[in-house]
Subunit: 453 residues, 2 copies
C-alpha cells in the first residue's frame, strides 16, 4: 500500500500544455482601456520580455520547457502525488482521493513554477532587474528565489500593512537576495505622491502594482512580472498537471474529478488543463472543479463581461467572470483567493461549460483543513483548504451514492506561514459569512465596461 506516486527528474515533462490550441471558442481579445478597441500583444512590450508576450498569445498546443528551467525545476520537482488513504478512511468514503502536493517547493507553493520560467526568459533577453508587487508575500518569495538563481536583481513592492504585520515573508525574500520596499515607498514617483498626500497609508495591492509597473516602464533594463491571471503564467503552471497525468497513469488510475482552489486561476489551470486535454483529445469526461471562497465568488455568482484587471482601472479590459474591479471581499485568511476576477481562459471555459465551479464558506474550509491535517499530516495553506472542502464534499456524495469515483486534488501549498489563521479558527474567530446578492449587484452596477452576450 504505497501512499506516494513519485517520478524521477528525468520524467519531468519537457513541454507545457497550451489549452488555447484546443478550445472550441478562443478567448476574446483584450480591449484598450480608453478606446475600447482590441489591442495586440505589442502593448505589453514595455513590461514583459518578448518570449513571454509570444507565449501570451500563442496558438501552439505545446511550448518546449527550456533545459535550464527544467534543471531548476529539479530542485523540487517532480512533486509527489499522494493517495490519501487516511483521509478516505476518516471520511469512510468509497471514493479514491489523490492529491498532488506543490508545498515541497522552496517557497512552499506552486508559484515558483512560473517564477523560474519568467526569470529565465528575462535573463535570456538581458534584463538586469525584475519588479513585482506582493500582498502576503507568496508571489514575492517565489520571484526572489527564481531571480537569485539567474543572477537577476529582484525588487518587490510589498503592501505596507503586510510588510509590518507579516515580516517573515519579507525576511524570506531577503534571504534569497531580494530588495523589499514597503508600499507605498519613496522609491517611485507614484509612491512619493501617495505618501505626501497620505503619510499614514498602509498601502494596497493596487498601489504596489502601480509602483512595480512604474519602475519597469521607466527603466530599460527592468521588466515586470505577474504571478497569476495572465495566459503565460497559466501555461507555466501546467507542469503540475503534465506530471499528474503521468502519475495517475503510474497509479493505474484516471480521475473522474479534478479539483483545485481558484484565485486568479494559475493553480487551477496548472492541474486541470492537462486533464481537460484528455477530454479534448481522448474523449474522456473528467469533471474539473474550481473551488472559490463564498466571500469572493466570481465564478459562481459573478458576471461574464469585460472588466479591468486592477482595482484602479489602468490595465487593458479583459473578458472575464468578475464581481467588479473595485469589489472588496471580506478579509479572509486565504488572501490569494481575494481577486475580483478570473483569468480569461478559465472564464471562457466556464462560459462554455467545460469546467465547473463551487464556492465554500470560510468556516467550512477550515473544518476541511483541520480534517485533512489530522488525517494526512500536512497542514494546508488557507487557499488550499478550499480545494479540500470540494474534495470532501464530492467524497461524501460518493458515499451517499455508493460510488467509487476517483478524485484528484491540487494541494497547492503548506500552511507553515499561515498558522495565525488556524489560531483564529481554534479561538472561534472564524465565522460563517454570507455575501448578499445586493452587495454583488451593487458592485456590478458600477461597471460601465462592455457586456459579452
Amino acid at each position: 500500500m504505497e501512499r506516494k506516486i513519485i517520478l524521477t527528474e528525468k520524467e519531468i515533462p519537457d513541454k507545457w500544455y497550451n489549452i488555447v490550441a484546443d478550445m472550441p471558442n478562443k478567448p476574446l481579445p483584450p480591449l484598450h482601456p480608453g478606446t475600447k478597441e482590441p489591442i495586440g500583444p505589442e502593448a505589453l512590450a514595455p513590461l514583459f520580455p518578448m518570449e513571454l508576450i509570444k507565449q501570451e498569445v500563442t496558438l501552439d498546443k505545446y511550448v518546449d520547457i527550456p533545459d535550464e528551467v527544467r534543471n531548476i525545476y529539479g530542485m523540487w520537482r517532480p512533486t509527489p502525488m499522494y493517495r490519501a488513504y487516511n483521509l478516505e478512511k476518516a471520511l469512510d468514503t468509497p471514493a479514491k482521493i489523490y492529491y498532488k502536493y506543490e508545498g515541497v517547493s522552496p517557497t512552499g507553493s506552486h508559484k515558483p513554477n512560473t517564477a523560474v520560467a519568467q526569470a529565465y526568459y528575462n535573463k535570456q533577453e538581458g534584463i538586469k532587474k525584475i519588479t513585482t508587487e506582493t500582498g502576503a508575500g507568496q508571489w514575492g518569495s517565489a520571484l526572489s528565489f527564481a531571480c537569485q538563481h539567474f543572477g537577476i536583481q529582484c525588487e518587490v513592492f510589498m503592501v505596507k500593512l503586510s510588510y509590518l504585520h507579516k515580516p517573515y515573508r519579507k525576511v524570506m525574500m531577503n534571504t534569497w537576495g531580494a530588495t523589499v520596499h514597503p508600499s507605498p515607498s519613496d522609491a517611485t514617483a507614484i509612491g512619493k505622491k501617495i505618501l505626501s498626500e497620505n503619510p499614514d497609508t498602509t498601502g494596497s495591492l493596487g498601489i504596489a502594482i502601480s509602483e512595480a509597473v512604474e519602475r519597469a516602464a521607466t527603466n530599460d533594463d527592468t521588466k515586470y512580472a505577474l504571478g497569476s491571471v495572465l495566459n503565460h503564467v497559466k501555461l507555466h503552471q501546467t507542469i503540475i498537471g503534465q506530471e499528474a497525468v503521468l502519475q495517475m497513469e503510474k497509479a493505474g488510475d484516471l480521475p473522474d474529478i479534478v479539483i483545485a482552489p481558484f484565485g486568479g486561476g494559475s493553480n487551477f489551470a496548472g492541474l486541470a488543463f492537462p486533464f481537460l486535454r484528455l477530454n479534448f483529445d481522448e474523449g474522456k469526461s473528467i469533471r474539473c472543479i474550481a473551488s472559490e471562497p463564498s466571500s469572493c465568488p466570481k465564478l459562481t455568482r459573478g458576471q461574464f463581461r469585460y472588466d479591468f484587471g486592477d482595482t484602479a482601472g489602468m490595465t487593458p479590459l479583459l473578458p472575464m467572470y468578475t464581481l467588479g474591479h473595485d469589489f472588496v471581499p471580506a478579509p479572509i485568511h486565504a488572501g490569494g483567493l481575494r481577486y475580483h476576477g478570473a483569468g480569461v481562459i478559465v472564464s471562457q471555459l466556464l462560459k462554455d461549460k467545460l469546467i465547473e465551479a463551487r464556492a465554500h464558506d470560510n468556516l467550512e474550509v477550515f473544518e476541511a483543513g483541520v480534517t485533512f491535517a489530522r488525517a494526512e499530516g500536512i497542514i494546508p495553506a488557507p487557499e488550499a483548504t478550499h480545494g479540500i472542502a470540494t474534495a470532501i464534499a464530492e467524497a461524501e456524495r460518493c458515499k451517499r451514492e455508493g460510488k467509487s469515483e476517483t478524485i484528484l486534488l491540487n494541494l497547492c501549498g503548506h500552511g507553515n506561514f499561515d498558522m495565525k489563521a488556524y489560531e483564529d479558527y481554534f479561538a472561534g474567530k472564524i465565522v460563517k459569512h454570507e455575501l448578499s446578492q445586493a452587495e454583488i449587484d451593487a458592485s456590478l452596477a458600477k461597471l460601465s465596461t462592455p457586456l459579452i452576450p
Copy 2:
C-alpha cells in the same frame, strides 16, 4: 544531472541499527542519583512502556521496525537525498556534497521518526495518554502528530515563555489534536506549587519536564516521552542513515565525511551510526563529525564524567560529555542545541575517538545558512546551519588541498518557523560570541558527580 536520489516506500528499511552491539567499549551504566550505585532498566518502568525500555538496553544489532510504524513513515519517508550541485558551484570546491533532507516531514524535522515509534509502542501496551515537555515546540509538534495517528491523547507542557512568544507551534500541536499547557501550569502539583511561589515566572525546560513526568508517574494509563538523548530515541533515528546508506549506493558513491548538527545527539546518531557500521563491519574509514554551537561546546570543550540529565539534578547520573548540568548557554536561536550534555552512546564514541566534533560560532552558522539557502533554495533551521558550517569548512579544505572528497550532511529541518532568527541576522543582531575557559571551568567546578578515568 539528477539532483535527487530517491527511494520508493517499499525501500524504507525494515530494521533500525543498534550501534551498541558493535561498540568496542559499551556505555557505562547509569547511576542512582542518591546512592550513586548502578541502576537497571526497571527504574524507567513508571515512565516508559516496556518495549522501549528493552530497546534502551538491548545488545541486538538490529531491531525490527513494526509494519504499522513503517506505514506511517511512508507519509513522508523515504526522505530525499540531494546532490548539492549549486552549493558546490558556489563554493568552487572539488568536493562532492550531498544532503539528506528531513524537513519534508509534516512537522518539518527529523523528530517524528522517534515520535511515531514511541506512540506505537505505547499504544501496543494500552497507554491512553502521553505527556512531554517542549521548549520552542519542535518535539511537542512531532509527538502531537504521532499520537494523533494512534488515537492516543497527547498532553504537552510548553515553557510559558515560548507559549507566549511562539504561539504558532502551539497552534500546530492543537491542529493535530494535542492539549498544550503553558508551564508552569495548574494541571500538576509541582506546577501549582511553583505558581503559588512565583506567579509571574515564565517557566523553564526543567519545570516543564517535572510537570510532564509527574503526570505520567501518577497516572496508570499515562506515560512520558523524550525526544532526544536516550538510546531508544537514537535507535529510531537510525532510519535516516539506513536510508542514506542505500541512497549513497544508488548514487554509486560513499561518503568520506558524514556531518550532522548536535544537540542531544539523536539527529547526529540518526545519520552517522549506520555509516559507522560500515567502519565496523567493512573496514571503511568514514569520518563522522558532530557540529555543535561554540556557545554550548560540550563535545569540544566539555568533560567526560557522570552528570545529571536535567538541570535540577533529579534524573539518574549518566556518563557523558558535559558542561555541567546547570550550565546556561547563550540564548542562541538554535534552541535545540542548547543542551548541557551529550547522550551516553555518542559520548563513549567520542571518548574512543570513533567520531569527531567541531564547534561553530553563531555568526558563522548564519552566514553558512544564507549561503545554503541562496544556492539550494531550502532555508535551513538554525540547528541545521551548524552542520552546513562544518560541510562548508570541509569543502573549503578540499579546495585548498585539491581533494575531491565526498561529504554527506544531515539537513535535519527547514527554517519556516525560525524566520525571526534570519531577521535578526539581516538586522546585524547576531554577533560572534566567545565562551571563556573560565566560564566553563566555573560550571564544571560545581559538579560533585563521579569522574570517569
